[in-house]
Symmetry: C2
Subunit: 493 residues, 2 copies
């Protein structure tokens, strides 16, 4: 019964069913009654809150402040920046009316056709347009700059094929929108944020990233340059984990936002925007987990250690409870989130499976015999290994182990990526290799035409042109034309 | 110039213009390009974040967890609970389409009529319906209960007359939605939350509240009982600061949510819902502030102390900077948010006015002469008084002063409410007194008819039937019919 309910489709059978099972059975999220929209359940949301807190702290440490802009964008605003509307028009939720009424000829409720908006409102798919319309009022002189604002919000893109966390019609995210006096400063900001994203994803989510710049085809609609961090999932598919856009003066021009520079001359303002979303949850879940369930990096686990008593009888349980209380206090003093599960309506075996499914990094088992021997059993979620140690050392031991687990799963992900990154110089080989997944480092002639052809023929896209990578020139594998450096190709989420 | 920009319409001239000026000039919020929707500016949002953090902590301490449900509610869901749809149908934003396209006969962009939703989606005005539709899947047995979930989200109610923070089409809030096995437990939860709200508003916002229950006319659409906390603003108008609803089995019945009780019998689930919103910001701003600007309670002030150097020359400024650095570190060790403003492009007088406008609780001025004398000038924002003290005691002194200010503004608000609460037994007197504002404690016969007539004739509503108040029976001032206890009448925001 337990097995049946909690068991996941093995990854080897179907990584897509495995992922879906995992999200549902680990109580992270589920589909809602509204097409493409998810319910983020408390356990999933607790992880998202940890992600939010940490990123928010990093943004604030670098001088950013939060604010909140409207959910609605007047239709005409989207239209102001040509490529922006092009990118978002086909997938947006449109508010046309503001009142319901009783159907005079039925017994249902209908839209009141008299309550039609003069101008339709779009639910924000991203907020550049409404924000730059606002910045116009805020920016007059160089003294008003820079503006370094972030917003935590929900956005809607009417995606047709959705997957929990990875692609949903409504999702949660943060979107930064900054305004600067110079191109250099705006680019510096774009890259500063890219570094924050990269550090966060590597150090907290334990996922190695490649920083790069997108090709024009893959650029954000309205950006001059889109920088990104790309990750490689366990199934060999790439996942874009965050983007930071240098917007040039595009939105300043679209919304006529100028400032008086120090020389008293009017100039258009330079801009950036950047965001990460609940999609990160998808990456986090997919990257480290296994057929037993979720594996969470200790730094983002809402519960880091679970202690489970295994007692022969009532008296023994009381002794264990007492011992556990001391350990729990020690952990709490170290700011470790610990849970003691001495509920008696579930067997230890059920609990073991449950906490494995939930990805608690460390499980401590305290049995009657342990009390006699002064020991405790320590199980690691990442390696599924167990050992019995002296109970006197448990606090330090477990604290160090949390760090080890954080390092270990990062290293594992890094090794996986190394093992699945190949250099390919021949298009036939490319077409074969792409079937196996992974990052393919190949030369590209820099044209949209070649990029499109490869995409059409292989479903692989250029994930990014890596920054700080190998810049040896070469020959495009398809056209034989010169290439400045290898780029990363992959099939992607 | 400074005066002109920063000066507020005096409260005595127009409290409504004063409020609006204050919100705008203190950089808290402004109207957006979308009718009825506001932009919450960084300073306003920083205060909201402090409110959120504290409430969130209080919810979590009492066993609640956060989750996230969809922004959209299928039209038919709203219709399931009869009084619920009645309450919200007239003011909701309705999504009817999901795609834009280029106008084939023009050069603009239009709604693609082929992309019409089969069922319209309502932007959540509140989430009972989508949440109870979800709970149906989660709740089977008493073991699945209670569910204690809160959500931080944006909601939309298409209000016709809006005011920044107090009444906006889109606003931010938290909404708790809990599910219980028994009526008693649900009522206990409703009142537990009411206490949390009351404690928060009194202890953090420094605003005295009256806890009470709403009359049937003023009840939340779908509730069995609505409990509330009512506050009295400085202009004599009442403001409802939060509500906690006992929903009975109304939503469980509407969405057919039953559980198997311990005896193996199926029962409908008992529910509560409760919320506070960015409206609290309106109360906070209005309650304590004056013609010089905002007055913030220290516990919610993003910046609690500002230090301003007043130096004769460059050398002296360096000495002051050094001294200030030490003080700042001492404050930081006490977790006090302190700002040192030694920018040289603004005169001290400008800074004084600016930080008064922003409501920083304490201003410290450190001048050249202070350095010589070992003193520092301390100015309180709440009383606008100044004194010069020994610089050696400044940390403890200021720390205590923050507590004093918190207490003082609460006491001032409490005194104001006491002075503006009157007992009235005669309807003619009532009609006169209501013009002066304040709470009027009067007897009411308990009928909707009387309540309506009084509202129509005087614009006063029954704010609540106070809990724990005077329960002496009496005679309705209008009808002469028996009354169980006095209720609070007031004109309200």
């Amino acid at each position: 019964m337990v097995k049946e309910i909690k068991e996941l489709t093995p990854k080897s059978v179907s990584s897509s069913r495995w992922y879906n099972d995992l999200v549902i059975k680990a109580d992270l999220a589920e589909n809602s009654a509204v097409r493409g929209c998810m319910v983020i359940k408390p356990y999933g949301y607790a992880i998202w809150e940890k992600i939010q807190r940490q990123l928010d702290e990093m943004f604030k440490e670098t001088g950013h402040v939060n604010a909140y802009f409207p959910l609605f964008i007047p239709k005409s605003f989207l239209n102001r920046e040509a490529s922006h509307i092009e990118g978002f028009a086909k997938e947006c939720a449109i508010v046309t009316h503001y009142r319901l009424k009783n159907d005079p000829i039925g017994k249902g409720i209908i839209v009141d056709s008299e309550a039609k908006l003069e101008e339709e409102l779009i639910i924000r798919p991203t907020s550049e347009s409404i924000i730059w319309n606002t910045y116009k009022k805020w920016i007059h002189s160089y003294r008003d700059l820079p503006i370094l604002i972030n917003q935590w919000a929900n956005v809607v893109r009417w995606e047709m094929r959705t997957r929990l966390f990875l692609r949903t019609a409504e999702f949660l995210w943060q979107e930064g929108h900054t305004a600067h006096t110079s191109k250099e400063e705006a680019i510096e900001e774009t890259l500063k944020i890219l570094d924050i994203y990269a550090n966060f994803v590597e150090q907290y989510m334990a996922i190695p990233v490649t920083k790069g710049v997108k090709t024009p085809c893959e650029r954000f609609a309205g950006a001059t340059d889109t920088y990104c961090i790309e990750t490689l999932m366990q199934d060999g598919k790439a996942l874009q984990a965050g983007t930071s856009h240098f917007l040039g003066q595009n939105f300043a021009k679209a919304f006529d936002v100028q400032f008086l520079n120090k020389k008293g001359k009017r100039e258009y303002v330079w801009a950036t925007s950047w965001g990460v979303s609940t999609r990160l949850m998808g990456a986090l879940i997919m990257m480290h987990s296994d057929d037993n369930g979720l594996v969470l990096p200790p730094k983002l686990a809402p519960c880091q250690i679970v202690i489970i008593p295994v007692s022969k009888d009532r008296t023994s349980l009381e002794d264990i409870n007492e011992k556990a209380t001391n350990i729990i206090n020690d952990f709490k003093n170290l700011d470790i989130n610990v849970k003691y599960d001495n509920t008696d309506n579930k067997k230890p075996g059920w609990k073991f499976a449950e906490y494995e499914l939930k990805g608690i990094p460390i499980r401590l088992t305290l049995g009657t015999r342990d009390l006699e021997n002064g020991t405790i059993e320590v199980s690691r979620r990442d390696t599924l290994t167990k050992e019995t140690i002296s109970i006197n050392n448990i606090t330090d031991y477990a604290n160090n182990l949390l760090n080890d687990i954080q390092q270990n799963i990062y290293q594992k992900a890094l090794d996986y990526r190394s093992a699945n990154t190949v250099y390919v110089d021949n298009y036939d080989e490319f077409k074969e290799r792409i079937e196996e997944g992974g990052f393919i480092m190949a030369h590209w002639d820099g044209t949209a035409k070649t990029e499109e052809q490869i995409k059409k023929e292989t479903k692989a896209t250029i994930r990014c042109i890596p920054l700080n990578g190998d810049i040896t020139p070469g020959i495009d594998m398809l056209t034989g034309m010169p290439s400045k450096q290898r780029v990363i190709f992959a099939r992607a989420y």
